[in-house]
């Protein structure tokens, strides 16, 4: 998580006109933001649209952002706003992007061993399936925390819920995931 939040130097470099710094930020965050949007909206076109909006707003605001800004927190909070608007403008049900591979790989699990890769692939499918059984609210909290690296305080502010409620929802959702994954393990 620390690597995600310590991007002040990249932000400063981009503010100074270094395009490579922006490319690094984009490479780092775009798949995560896309996965987050996709998992809440359930449609790829909408998620790509959110991603583009988030980075367009970031590019516009970047010159005025204080150097201590946590880029990940900023981008995920922005994505959350756009997703909330998308929900308002289009009635969306509780659907998860089952037809898409929301999470397509595991960072730092890349291996030359086919058996290990197969295991990773299975794990991804399982977690994808388990996330589908959570409510949108639970997924929102879990992904803001684990994918965006937001603190409970930041999530509470982004969602307009008390911090304690967010922390409780997060713990409950993780416990539910564990239960769901255990069920998968038991099934033949």
């Amino acid at each position: 998580m620390a690597a995600i939040d310590n991007n002040h130097n990249l932000l400063s470099a981009y503010q100074g006109g270094d395009l490579r710094a922006f490319e690094r930020l984009y490479t780092q965050y775009a798949p995560r933001l896309l996965g987050y949007a996709l998992s809440l909206l359930g449609d790829r076109d909408g998620a790509e649209d959110i991603l583009q909006k988030v980075f367009t707003a970031f590019i516009r605001r970047a010159p005025q952002l204080p150097p201590e800004t946590r880029v990940g927190t900023y981008l995920f909070a922005a994505a959350r706003n756009h997703i909330a608007n998308a929900y308002r403008s289009r009635e969306r049900g509780e659907r998860f992007a089952r037809n898409y591979e929301v999470f397509v790989r595991c960072r730092s699990l890349g291996s030359d061993d086919p058996a290990e890769n197969a295991e990773t692939g299975e794990l991804l499918q399982e977690i994808n399936g388990a996330l589908a059984h959570l409510s949108v609210k639970e997924r929102d909290v879990i992904l803001l925390r684990t994918q965006g690296g937001l603190s409970f305080t930041d999530i509470a502010k982004a969602l307009g819920r008390p911090r304690g409620t967010v922390a409780t929802q997060y713990r409950a959702a993780i416990a539910k995931l564990r239960h769901l994954l255990a069920k998968v393990e038991l099934e033949p």
């Binding site: 998580m1 395009l19 922006f22 775009a30 980075f55 706003n81 595991c106 564990r178």
Partner: protein
């Protein structure tokens, strides 16, 4: 697998790679903005400090211009009516299609065809935000006028500084302004106006409708204008900047919200200074933002129309 393992796994998951067209569009915009200019800083967290510096800079510029006898707004005999305040603005000038960058001058007769949301800064320091797909022409002001814009189609949001002289936006109906923030939409002969602050006169078919803060109205070509129930804040969400406040005084956040909506906020000086807030403000309705702020800071809030009182 225990709960900590699940958390670790979730942290390592990676979403899909964005589509090439999304990446291309973002990178293209980033390239165009690679050397960000300070002119876009008007709505930032540091806006007040920036504006103070800007005032000194403008004063210095005026003094230098007077001292050297150079008319900075005159170039090649043509009057500069505005400057570009965002990147890659598409302009048609004397039959030629141009792409202009920040600080480039705009002259009478220039036709702006915005391909992305863009900003221009008028000579009187009023700002115009132009939505994607909008066609806007800068007409030469007539006697007694300080600005005249012709909106052919699309949406503009104007923040007009109070000053002498009429400020006009002509579409199917005509809009007259003194000092105010408002939006105009031109859509197939229907002109809609949404007012965030100040007063705007909508004129059509010899009739005039005055709209005040928090009001909207519309007029069809050759029909008298009428007031509508449209919420101006909702209608102008497209023009609002996204901003992230991190541990800023409540007063600063409320000032920004007031500057970017038709809402007015009342809170004690003590509250405004003492309560520190971290909040991301996007294009969400102001009541939602206020409720979230009050909830997370443990404050009370009361709406009276578009006036909000915040207490402890």
């Amino acid at each position: 697998m225990n709960e900590r393992d699940i958390e670790k796994l979730l942290q390592r998951l990676e979403g899909p790679a964005p589509r090439p067209e999304t990446t291309r569009a973002v990178m293209e915009l980033a390239r165009k903005s690679a050397a960000p200019s300070t002119t876009a800083a008007m709505h930032s967290v540091k806006a007040r400090a920036f504006r103070a510096r800007l005032r000194w800079a403008v004063a210095a510029l005026v003094l230098i211009s007077v001292a050297t006898g150079v008319g900075v707004w005159l170039r090649g005999g043509k009057t500069v009516l505005a400057t570009v305040a965002s990147d890659a603005l598409q302009v048609r000038r004397d039959g030629q299609a141009l792409t202009l960058n920040r600080e480039a001058p705009l002259y009478a007769g220039d036709e702006i065809a915005a391909e992305t949301e863009s900003d221009i800064l008028l000579k009187d320091q009023s700002t115009v935000r132009i939505d994607t797909g909008t066609l806007l022409r800068l007409d030469p002001p007539r006697k007694g006028e300080r600005a005249r814009l012709a909106l052919e189609k699309g949406r503009v949001f104007l923040s007009v500084s109070p000053a002498e002289g009429a400020f006009l936006v002509s579409a199917s109906a005509e809009v007259r302004v003194v000092g105010t923030r408002f939006g105009v939409v031109e859509d197939n002969g229907l002109t809609s106006v949404h007012v965030l602050s100040g007063r705007v006169a909508l004129q059509s078919a010899g009739a005039e409708l005055t709209l005040e803060r928090g009001r909207s109205g519309e007029a069809r070509k050759d029909n008298a204008p009428v007031e509508t129930a449209a919420d101006p804040d909702d209608a102008l969400l497209w023009a609002r900047d996204m901003i992230f406040f991190e541990n800023r005084p409540l007063g600063e956040v409320l000032d920004w919200l007031a500057d970017n909506s038709s809402y007015r906020f009342e809170a004690s000086e003590d509250l405004r200074a003492r309560i520190q807030v971290s909040v991301a403000v996007g294009d969400e309705p102001i009541p939602d933002i206020v409720r979230a702020l009050a909830l997370t800071c443990g404050l009370r809030h009361e709406f009276d129309g578009h006036d909000v009182t915040i207490t402890e």
